[in-house]
Every structure is written in C-alpha cells, then in structure tokens.
C-alpha cells in the first residue's frame, strides 16, 4: 500500500532523516513514536506532499513519487498521492468560515466534482459516523476541540482516501476529550482502514497498532509488534524513550 525507499529530508544543514525504508500493507495500523524533533511529523508530511523530500521514493497505491523525477511529473505525483491519503492535524485546521458540513463537502465537490446533493449525502453519513450529525450546521468556533477533530476526520474521509495519516491528533485536546477522538480512530481501524498514527497515547498504540515504529536521530531505530516494542525494546534509545514516557505519564 505504501512503500518508501531511501527517503531523506533536510532543512538547510539540519538532516531530519536519511535512508528511511518503510513498507505498509493494506489494512495495517502503524503507530510512529519517537522523541520530539525526531522527524515524525516531517515523515508524515512527506507522505502527503506537504514537505518535499530531498532523496528517495514514495509509492502510495498506484501513485509513485521519486526525487529524480522532473518538476511537472512530481507535481502530478503529489496530486495523485494526495487523492489517496487523508491527513489529520494536531491543530484540527478546520475551515472557520464554513459549517461542519460545509467543511466536509467542500473538497468532494471541488476536487472530485461531486454534485452538491451527493456530497451532502456522503457528508452527513460521515458526520453521523463520527457522532456529530446534529452539529452539521455549527461553525467550528462553536465546537469543542474533540468535536472539531472528529469533523476534521470526517472531512478527510470524505475524499475516500485509502490511507489515513494522523499527526498527534489528540495532543491539542484536554485529556477528557481525547477518548472521543481515539474511539473514532479505533472504529476506523476495525473497518480495515490503513493508518499511520503519530501519537503519545501508548494505550491506544498497544491496543490498536499492528506495528510500532520507533524513530530517533533521523533513523528508524526499531520496529515490531506492540508487545515486542513495549515489553522487550531492542535498542537502548527505545528503552530510554519508554522510561521517559513512563516517568511523565499523561503529558503530551
């Protein structure tokens, strides 16, 4: 489903990561963890074309991007990849000048040229799925953070992506609101959605992930099943990371 080869990205002199190889199968749920600044967000953003890698290649479904393509081919590849991936941001980024429903139906009508009626029908069913059909006419400013994030998930799903990318979707939320977002994500997981999730919610990672990938110092240090990773981390860096997490529970 996703195949990343020898991916590298730097900002000026700062090498964020190098030689990243990643294979994700359809239906797999991968949780990406690592210390702050280790490049998790940057990697996710590369998979969605929000950041342009310097080297390597990315294949998502039948779309391929690689660093040696010419500019117009890259542009086309990014466009194609974006139609296959949905992205959920830490800060929700709902469009404040549109109601919940308008947020959800905008991209399908503009990008996929769906009729308004058709988009509304799908949009309403997605809002129902995240439990917010009754809020469809509210503007984001009148929704709680958890509700906003659920609308943002519905908005991404409206484009019928094959893969969902989540970048710390609950980090900006009060602890009592994280649950409602996580349960929507769990539901997606049980429906077979392919997902890559950056999160500090280790309980979620343990319960839902098929695989944990641990990134640090610009590399994938280790990966394995949640049981392997949490019980028997292979590298000293991972052990240190887990110790730190344990010593500051519930901080995001």
């Amino acid at each position: 489903m996703i195949e990343v080869n020898k991916l590298g990205k730097s900002f000026g002199d700062l090498v964020v990561f190098r030689d990243i190889d990643l294979h994700i199968r359809s239906g797999e749920i991968v949780v990406l963890v690592g210390p702050s600044g280790s490049g998790k967000s940057t990697l996710l953003r590369c998979l969605n074309g929000l950041e342009v890698p310097d080297e390597g290649s990315i294949r998502v479904g039948d779309a391929t991007w690689n660093a040696s393509m010419d500019a117009s081919a890259k542009k086309e590849a990014v466009r194609h990849i974006r139609t296959l991936t949905g992205m959920v941001f830490q800060s929700f980024n709902l469009f404040p000048h549109m109601t919940a429903l308008e947020n959800v139906i905008m991209a399908p009508t503009i990008v996929k040229k769906r009729s308004k009626a058709q988009a509304v029908e799908t949009g309403e069913s997605l809002l129902a799925k995240v439990g917010l059909l009754n809020k469809k006419n509210e503007y984001p400013s009148r929704l709680s953070g958890g509700q906003q994030q659920r609308v943002a998930i519905a908005r991404a799903l409206a484009m019928q992506p094959q893969i969902m990318l989540f970048d710390e979707p609950t980090s900006a939320l009060d602890p009592e609101l994280t649950g409602e977002v996580l349960s929507v994500m769990k539901q997606l997981a049980t429906e077979g959605m392919t997902m890559i999730v950056v999160t500090h919610e280790m309980k979620f990672a343990r319960e839902v992930a098929n695989r944990i990938i641990f990134m640090s110092d610009g590399k994938i240090q280790e990966e394995g099943s949640p049981d392997q990773f949490f019980v028997q981390p292979q590298t000293e860096r991972a052990r240190k990371f887990l110790r730190q997490l344990a010593s500051e529970p519930e901080t995001e």
Partner: protein, 214 residues
C-alpha cells in the same frame, strides 16, 4: 442658501462624478491590489521584487504628482488622456498600492495550517487561495478596506486640478460665478460627509455578515 438650492442640480452632478471616480478607482484598485499582493507573496524572486518596487514607488510619492504625471506627463510620450480617464488611472494605481499592503497583511494572517489542510484534501494552490485563504483574509481586510474607501472618496477632490468637474470643482466653479464661497463649501462638505456615513454603514453591515461564523 438660496444659491445652493438653485444650483443643487449642478452640485449633484459633481457628487455623481465624485462617486463614479471613487467606485471605478476602488474597483480597479482592488483588482490590481489583489494581483500585486499575490505577486508579492507567491511570485518568484523577480515578480516579488517588481511588485515590491511598485508599492514602494507609489507609496513614496505624492498622489498629486502621480496625477500630474498621468495627465500632463504622458502626452510627452504620445499618450493623451481625457481628464476623467486620467483620474481613473492615477487613482486606481495609487489606491492599489495601499490595498495590496492591506491584502498582503490579511492573507498572511491566515494560518499556514489552513493552506495545508486544503492542499492535503487535494485542492490546487489556486483553489486553496480562492476557497480557503481569501474568504478568511477578506474578513480581516474589510475594516481597513472601508477606511481606504472612505479616504478615497475624499481624495477624489484632488483630481479637480486636472479639470474633472467632481464635487469640489463644481463648488469652485459656482464660487467663481457668484463670488460667495461659504455656502457652497459648506454644502459640499455636507455632501461628502453624507456619502462617507452612507458607505461606513454599508461596510459595517458587511463586516457583521462576514464575521457571523466567529
């Protein structure tokens, strides 16, 4: 007072030209200003600096000089414009430089996350601009735009120097005819004021409408 009522029709014609010049210049000013703002934000090095130079020159020179250059200067290059056309062009250009700064600030005030969310949904950069960034920027820009517009209404009086018979020049012509100044000046002051108040209230209404989501 009687003189004013007798010549009211003439003053109204002047007011009509004042309005016409304001609205036409504002319209083209908005258009050019938007293009300049986008050029400054999204253009390559050359386009960015071209736009920056344009804004700097226009803002750094008196509007009267700009009007004179367009009306009296351009004929040296074989371009002769009627007074009204010269007024439209010089004021549109002048206002566009100020508006482009307003737009630029307003566009920059929309968080980058908005652009990223739109792009990640598959919108093109242009669709993102039109559907997501500009509507939010408009809300930020409306109050300063309103001020510019009202300022424009008053600045049109400057084009009386190139014999456009707008409101100020209408009064001056009447004064030359009757040798009394005060009633005419007071009358046009009132007319300027009424137009300003009228437009302020329209702009207030637009502002309320645009901010209903917040």
């Amino acid at each position: 007072m009687e003189l004013v009522t007798q010549n009211f029709q003439f003053l109204l014609t002047g007011a009509y030209y004042t309005l016409l010049i304001t609205i036409v210049s504002m319209f083209f000013g908005l258009l050019i200003g938007m293009i300049v703002a986008i050029a400054r934000l999204k253009g390559n090095w050359f386009v960015r600096n071209l736009a920056k130079g344009y804004v700097s020159i226009i803002r750094g020179t008196p509007i009267l000089v700009q009007i004179f250059i367009i009306y009296y200067g351009l004929p040296d290059f074989g371009i002769t414009l009627g007074p009204l056309t010269a007024a439209f062009i010089s004021l549109s250009i002048n206002i566009s430089a100020y508006l482009s700064e307003t737009f630029r600030g307003a566009i920059l005030s929309v968080s980058n996350g908005q652009t990223e969310a739109a792009l990640s949904l598959g919108l093109t950069p242009w669709q993102t601009m039109r559907r997501v960034v500009l509507p939010q920027a408009a809300r930020v820009a409306i109050p300063p735009l309103g001020n510019t517009f009202i300022g424009m209404l008053k600045e049109t009086s400057l084009v009386s120097v190139v014999t456009v018979t707008e409101l100020l020049r209408s009064a001056q012509l009447l004064i030359a005819q009757y040798y009394v100044a005060m009633p005419f000046y007071v009358a046009i002051a009132l007319m300027y004021w009424i137009m300003s108040v009228f437009f302020s209230s329209i702009l207030n209404r637009m502002e309320t409408r645009l901010s209903k989501a917040y």
